[in-house]
């Protein structure tokens, strides 16, 4: 059984279809990238995995649990396994970056303060943000907030991490660092990663498979090499765009 399954998911907002029969599966231990144009419904797709949205029809399964119909207890347990980097980073403005990252450990584990501090520091070091530990989120740049959110998403021992545009707003060099980090977490801790991104080149570098969402459906879902060769018009379009082909 796959770890994550979308079965024919349709999502409407006020009668407007954003997802229209979306189906895909993510295997355990995989890096799964989701690409698509702005407004295609990539963030909405991720949010279904943790019941921030409920499908209008269809099912979303996480390790066999039907998320939309799960009991509160099952839902909390499923969410507890998942680390989530939000597109907006979603840091708490009144806490320092370090406190934000330490928050899931402080609130949910019995670790002592020294251990929490150690893990926080190492998560911040992974995203190259040690120097900003004492700053407040509104004082740092968007890219730094993104990385702080990423540190918070990985500080807990989750086995699934959802990244919503981890590299948007970052310079190319830092982007590569983040891509390396995602791959490292995947290789060393076996974290299943679902990465939503605009950056097809980045996706090709790290993904085991790439899903392209078009018109609320899965247009293609292929490993990077085959994705580049795909004859699907939507895939051809985005590949051409990546190559800087403006016709």
């Amino acid at each position: 059984m796959s770890l994550v399954e979308f079965e024919n998911v349709t999502k409407e907002f006020d009668g407007e279809k954003v997802l229209d029969g979306l189906s895909f599966k993510v295997e355990k231990g995989e890096i799964f990238c989701i690409v698509g144009q702005s407004g295609a419904g990539k963030s909405v797709t991720l949010k279904h995995l943790v019941r921030l949205f409920v499908p209008t029809s269809g099912r979303v399964l996480v390790d066999g649990v039907d998320v939309a119909r799960a009991s509160e207890r099952e839902l909390w347990r499923t969410r507890g396994r998942i680390g989530y980097l939000f597109q907006s980073a979603a840091l708490l403005a009144w806490m320092t970056v370090a406190d934000n990252v330490a928050l899931p450990l402080r609130e949910n584990t019995a670790l002592d303060d020294a251990e929490i501090e150690k893990r926080t520091a190492s998560a911040l070091a992974e995203v190259e943000l040690s120097h900003a530990a004492g700053k407040y989120p509104p004082e740092i740049s968007g890219g730094m907030q993104k990385r702080a959110g990423l540190a918070r998403a990985i500080v807990r021992e989750s086995d699934i991490v959802l990244y919503d545009e981890p590299t948007s707003g970052l310079d190319p060099v830092t982007s590569v660092t983040i891509h390396r980090l995602i791959r490292k977490l995947n290789r060393t801790r076996g974290i299943t990663s679902i990465v939503v991104t605009h950056d097809l080149a980045g996706a090709i570098a790290i993904a085991d498979r790439i899903l392209l969402i078009k018109d609320g459906k899965a247009a293609v879902c292929l490993p990077p090499a085959q994705f580049l060769e795909s004859e699907n018009p939507a895939a051809k379009e985005i590949v051409a765009a990546m190559k800087g082909d403006i016709g």
Binding site: S88, L91, L92
Partner: protein
Amino acid sequence: MTVTREPYGGRFAFFAETGFAARLAFAAVLSFPSVFRRRSRGELVRQLYAVCIRTLPVVTVVSLFTGMILALQVGLELRRFNYEIYLGAAVMVSLVREMGPFSCGMCLAACVGSAVAAELAAMKVNDEIAALEIMSISPVRFLAAPRMLALVIASPLLGFFCCVVGTMGGGIVSATQLNVDFGQYIASALSAADTKDLFVGLLKSLVFGFTIGAVAVYEGFGAGYGAAGVGRSTQRSVITGFLLILMFGYMITRVAYR
């Protein structure tokens, strides 16, 4: 309980929403003890500071003028019958029973309720509430409980403060405009001071504080998307707060003074 949800639809949406608000308030009350835990105490102090200190200037001015207006209106009527000596009692009773808790509640709804609703709504729109839930941190315990508890603690204190300041304001007016000696005014006020009135007044303040907190938290968590969502939540929290203060104020009066 989970607070990230989509709005209820259908014909019975109003009742479903009201039920959700009630469950939210109840869940917050159940989390009140956790606010005193070592790691959460700082947040309570921060919220108490926000509620008490920041609203103090407004509350002072509002209650001072409430007392002055009361004294002037009542005093002018009493003077027609030469009963000015009872002015202190009249002002005191109306302040303690009604106007103190009421004007304090209005101030809190406008200053604190709106701020709490706006803060939580902005967090909702920015996915911060969702992020908390996914980190298995209950927004009810982490955000709602300290804010509501701060209001519940501060509201009776501020309500009492309103009564004191209002009575003083009335005294100033009676001495300067109505030729009632300040000492005589105070003596009359104290003679009318009644424990039952005080308790009912404090109870009202407590209920108002709780109501304002519950409404603000409900509106904040339920905010719709975008900056417009934040504005709408803030506005609705103030309007609903005002209406509920009036209604609950009437009901408590009705039950307490039959």
